[in-house]
């Protein structure tokens, strides 16, 4: 094992495949000599040349749109947007082109492309640089979506994302970039659709992903002191979703709290809650509880930002409602 930050994990996943496969290229804003807005591609321009790590103009539409064209014609592009918030500018390319091409063409075209979308609050970047927008894209058939929470998953999911013949949305949480974690010496692909139990427990299940994995683990620790035994599951892959892992845990605890940094209204955890109530209602001993960001844009002032996103105490309170 070795130590690596989350950002290094993402980079390592890309490096491994780029060393093995010439058809993998990276492009996006400032990904070259600058090393990426958050330093994720640092050193890659030097290692792989500007031909494979290409700086683009500030044109999110053509970053994603040309990834579609390149993927349809023999390359495996990794497109980086600086912030998920800017996906709005390339939404046609994601939703109407990337996601639908295979289907519209009767399955006769492959689109092995990865779009990296850094999201999340906590950087005091205010409303246009802090959103969590998973549900906008989980809503669209044709995309696969992953959201790693740690360096090992970041690397392993990146390998699977590059290997996949479908467009993969690879979310990254900005607050996690500098977080260190253990990574195996030989990094292996982590299959999509496999959640990970981060903490076993018997009283309540928390289903979460990305940064909220850590908040949920902290909440679980505090609750343990009060005699409440919480199971924390990191979904890792938003679609395909590990329904089996969800079912298994619910059958054990019979109570569920869903935690995400998306605004609560219309967030993807609402979809998971609906799925649980349709398929596992009779396993439940209590209503499903969601913890999300308040239904507001992310405010600038640190006191406001820290208040609107899910805090550890919000998760603790949600769990306590059920026991």
């Amino acid at each position: 094992m070795r130590k690596m930050t989350y950002a290094e994990g993402i980079r390592e996943g890309m490096r491994i495949r780029m060393q093995e496969d010439d058809s993998v290229i990276i492009f996006g804003e400032d990904v070259g000599q600058f090393g990426g807005c958050f330093g994720v591609t640092a050193g890659m321009f030097e290692e792989f040349s500007g031909e494979r790590v290409k700086d683009t103009p500030i044109s999110e539409g053509v970053i994603i749109g040309s990834a579609v064209g390149a993927a349809a014609t023999g390359l495996k592009p990794i497109a980086e947007l600086m912030f998920v918030d800017f996906a709005t500018v390339g939404m046609d390319q994601l939703v109407n082109q990337a996601a639908k091409m295979r289907y519209m063409f009767g399955g006769k075209i492959g689109l092995p492309m990865v779009v990296r979308l850094p999201g999340g609050a906590g950087t005091r970047a205010a409303a246009q640089h802090s959103q969590s927008l998973e549900s906008w894209l989980t809503h669209v058939p044709g995309l696969k979506l992953v959201y790693p929470s740690n360096a090992e998953d970041a690397a392993g999911l990146m390998l699977s994302a590059i290997d996949d013949d479908n467009p993969v949305i690879y979310f990254e949480h900005k607050v996690l970039y500098a977080m260190e974690g253990e990574v195996p010496d030989k990094i292996e692909p982590i299959p999509f659709g496999k959640a990970k139990v981060k903490r076993e427990g018997s009283d309540v299940t928390i289903l979460t992903y990305a940064k909220q994995v850590y908040d949920s683990l902290e909440a679980a620790k505090q609750l343990e002191a009060e005699g409440i035994d919480v199971e924390v599951i990191d979904l890792r892959s938003l679609y395909p979703l590990d329904k089996e892992a969800i079912e298994k845990s619910i059958k054990k605890t019979n109570k569920v709290v869903l935690v995400s940094e998306e605004v609560k209204r219309g967030g993807y955890i609402g979809e998971i809650a609906a799925m649980i109530s349709e398929d596992f209602f009779y396993e439940l001993d209590a209503p499903i509880v969601r913890v999300g960001t308040l239904n507001v844009p992310i405010p600038f002032s640190p006191v406001l930002e820290d208040y609107v996103v899910p805090r550890v105490e919000d998760i603790v309170n949600a769990v306590k409602k059920l026991v």
């Binding site: 044109s59 749109g65 064209g69 046609d92 082109q97 063409f105 006769k108 058939p141």
Partner: protein
Amino acid sequence: MKLENEKILNMYENMLTIRRFEEKAQELFAAGDIPGFVHLYIGEEAVATGACANLNEDDYITSTHRGHGHIVSKGGDLKLMMAELYGKKTGYCKGKGGSMHIADATKGILGANGIVGAGHNIAAGAGLSIKYRKTDQVCVCFFGDGSTNQSTFHEALNLASIWKLPVVFVCENNGYGISLSQKFHQAIKDISDRAVSYNIPGVTVDGNDVFAVYEAVGEAVNRARKQQGPTLVECKTYRHRGHFEGDPVNYRSKEELQEWMEKDPIQRMEKYLLENDVASEDKLKEISDNINSEIEEAVKFAKESPFPDVEASVEDVYSDIVEEVK
């Protein structure tokens, strides 16, 4: 430009095939046989024909909602096209795409597209791929005047120009963005003027003159193959039909239509062929008869083909996941 008679006749045959395919689609749509939207290419045949006559099988094109002419010109199969218009299992897209989404990756057809302006970016991506793979392929991006006001036009031409991508941007300026006349949707007359802002060549040609299109796009294709970057070729043309079948066409005059009917690219070509002894009346009749029977065969194939099984609706969303059925 001196062309072999065979090449000229091939271009004529291609134009007439498009015309007859579209006339048949018009008839079948009116009869209620073909569901959905149909956008016909009648009147614009010289553009796709002249442009694609420069291309090899492994070159790429991106197309538009008005795509039948591009697909035919890049070697699309009429039977598979017609079956797709019918929504049949045997169609190009197994009935999942319809008129606006026909594609054939094996022939470099990266798809018709229902979003105006979406092809620009995809073409830039194909150009990036060609350049990276160091082949001598090119990508021809077809689009209408209306799409040149979309941000994708600017983004793609800018990217193609800074990276010198082998893309030929072929604008089919038919004078209307749906119902809006060009004079109301942009302040320029010649769209090729916009090439200046990308420091690339921009030319305007008579889009109803197949030789003019062939020559201009040919020059652009040569530049692209020699790694000299993209070109913007504007072809001035006109659609005889409305934006879509069923369009009341209440936004243009009969006189204007009449004026363009007189410039019909196919009649012009026939006149050229006869006057220059490239073909006899008999030869033209033979070509026409052959096309008619090919179209009839395509319609027969489409009509006799089965509809897809409803369970097929959950396949092909992903390469490896089949969604749940009802």
